[in-house]
């Protein structure tokens, strides 16, 4: 689903632009990034073209790129993303890189997230009484289980930010604390949630989501009103810096028809 089409009043960028820029800033230079589709794909390209030129892109369909594609792409399988890449191979090879612990960061989206960062992209309702059937995991569960950290990107709406997701497609911190270790997950967990309204991170002990940064135009109150549980705020609550001119230029370069960032 495309990002919220509402532009921030009085600015020359959209919510989607800001989310892409925020995603890009989560990538450090030299990191190995398991690149997802839509906004995360753009975020990776922006990071790679600006502050993280040596970031390596790993794509689940069997592609590794250390360089930017020659043309904009809409899906990972578009031919410019294959051409002049650094490895075309099997999904199993990419999953080995992920499973062994060589992926620093990945990005996933979802329909529902809860206070411990569990993500649902499978079923609204119950397995025996499905209200809405969503597409499913794809590689998202794999990334949430096996990457060193993952970042969630989604629209901030009350029915999406729920106290407990209906179905855990991609595990976050379960019911908090050392849950991941208890269920057998060797590493990882969400490090940030980038939404249409702000950026949230996780308490290092309880693993509960904490509001860390508010996007320009939003307030902590509007964010609480769009969150289905009492949301903790960081003591050093920030305002998300708007996209820089450089970031915006790259977003326009990689999404020239503004398919994802209108």
């Amino acid at each position: 689903m495309a990002a919220d089409p509402t532009r921030n009043a009085g600015s020359d960028y959209t919510q989607a632009d800001l989310m892409v820029a925020a995603a890009a800033r989560e990538i450090a230079d030299g990191e190995v990034v398991f690149v997802g589709m839509r906004l995360p794909l753009l975020g990776f390209l922006v990071a790679k073209s600006l502050h993280a030129p040596e970031a390596v892109g790993v794509y689940e369909l069997g592609i590794i790129r250390e360089s930017l594609a020659s043309e904009p792409i809409l899906t990972m399988g578009d031919l410019p993303n294959l051409r002049r890449s650094h490895w075309l191979a099997d999904t199993a090879d990419m999953m080995a890189i992920l499973g062994r612990g060589d992926v620093d960061v990945s990005f996933i989206g979802g329909a529902q997230v809860d206070r411990f960062g569990n993500l649902n992209t499978t079923i609204i309702g119950r397995p025996d009484r499905i209200e809405t059937r969503l597409p499913g995991s794809g590689g998202a569960c794999d990334l949430a289980c096996l990457a060193r950290r993952h970042i969630i990107i989604m629209a901030h709406r009350k029915h999406r930010f729920v106290d407990r997701v209906d179905y855990i497609t991609s595990p976050g911190y379960g019911d908090g604390g050392d849950w991941r270790r208890r269920v057998g997950l060797a590493r990882g967990g969400p490090s940030a949630v980038i939404t249409t309204l702000g950026v949230l991170r996780f308490d290092p002990d309880t693993r509960e989501m904490v509001l860390a940064s508010v996007h320009p135009g939003a307030t902590p109150e509007t964010i609480q009103n769009n969150t289905g549980w009492p949301l903790r705020r960081a003591s050093d609550l920030q305002t998300t810096p708007p996209p820089t001119a450089g970031e915006l230029a790259m977003i326009r370069r990689f999404d020239p028809h503004r398919y994802w960032t209108r």
């Binding site: 369909l61 051409r83 099997d90 999904t91 199993a92 397995p127 849950w179």
Partner: protein, 303 residues
């Protein structure tokens, strides 16, 4: 020499995909999806199929919409650039379609297990997820060396794998290039392999580069010459992704009535690759065609 395996698309589907077949398709994820073969399955009105794959993009949604499918074993079913697959949603929400929820990794391991002849393979993915509740092919198990808790993915043994490739000879020796997804696992696991190929070439083209081959030719059951057979998905060396077709399909699948109209035009009305090309039109094909060629550096297999 081995025997010729070239068949027409209707003959290949008639012979190797009866009702109740378990079929793996779309093994390369977003690329090289065997749409033409899927449409022939729809035209022949197959029933009670099981569709197996990682993400199918819109192909699974189409076959489900045509009423051919009883069960889906997949990681994701939808439209990659727009989101939901409406036929899939309708079929699941109305209780007509059984689903087993996989991840891209568990579906690849389930097929790899069948390929290797073992009943399961272990992995660290999916632990703590609810996939165990909606997939009886996932259980937890314990490592006999470390005591670690692991996910066990049960083997999935397809009756047939349908793979679209760039070029094949008439004996089933084929070259594929680009991202390969789970093509290797899918074909090694399946009892029968159907290849749809952009080009039928001389056997010497294939043997000039045995590393470019993706599946053991002796296990291929049928080779079908199917130019534009993966449209609207992209095929390296042949055509780019037709994004507009995926956008159009979103609108065309929102209601059963819209889907019926779409199917009448794009599936039922097609009898051959020539029909399909005529419907696409020269201008659109030219727009999708490879504009800037970029050839691989040769290698030497001499002795």
């Amino acid at each position: 020499m081995p025997k010729e395996k070239r068949l027409s698309l209707p003959d290949a589907i008639e012979r190797f995909i009866p009702d109740n077949s378990r079929i793996v398709m779309g093994a390369s994820l977003e690329s090289v999806i065997p749409f033409a073969a899927g449409h022939e399955i729809m035209r022949r009105g197959r029933r009670d199929l099981t569709l197996i794959g990682p993400i199918s993009d819109i192909l699974f949604d189409q076959i489900i919409g045509a009423g051919c499918v009883r069960k889906v074993q997949a990681a994701w079913v939808g439209n990659v650039i727009t989101g939901s697959g409406y036929n899939f949603r309708r079929a699941v929400e109305s209780g007509r379609l059984e689903t087993e929820d996989h991840t891209n990794l568990t579906i690849s391991l389930a097929l790899r297990a069948a390929a290797m002849g073992v009943p399961y393979l272990p992995t660290r993915t999916a632990l703590g997820s609810d996939l165990f509740k909606t997939n009886p092919g996932l259980k937890t198990t314990t490592c006999p060396f470390t005591g670690d808790r692991l996910t066990a993915a049960a083997a999935i043994q397809p009756d047939v794998a349908v793979l679209h490739v760039q070029r094949s000879d008439v004996y089933g020796h084929a070259h594929a290039w680009g991202n390969l997804g789970i093509s290797r696992e899918a074909c090694l696991a399946a009892h029968n392999i159907i290849l749809t190929a952009e080009e039928i070439v001389d056997p010497e083209v294939i043997t000039s580069d045995p590393n470019r081959v993706v599946v053991p030719g002796f296990r291929v059951s049928a080779v079908v010459h199917t130019p534009w057979g993966a449209h609207p998905s992209p095929v390296p060396g042949h055509y780019n992704r037709d994004h507009q077709a995926f956008l159009d399909y979103r609108e065309a699948s929102k209601t059963p009535e819209d889907f019926a109209a779409w199917k009448a035009e794009w599936v039922d009305g097609i009898g051959s690759p020539a029909d399909y090309a005529a419907l696409l039109g020269r201008e659109r094909m030219a727009r999708l065609a490879i504009r800037e060629h970029d050839h691989s550096e040769p290698v030497d297999y001499g002795c």
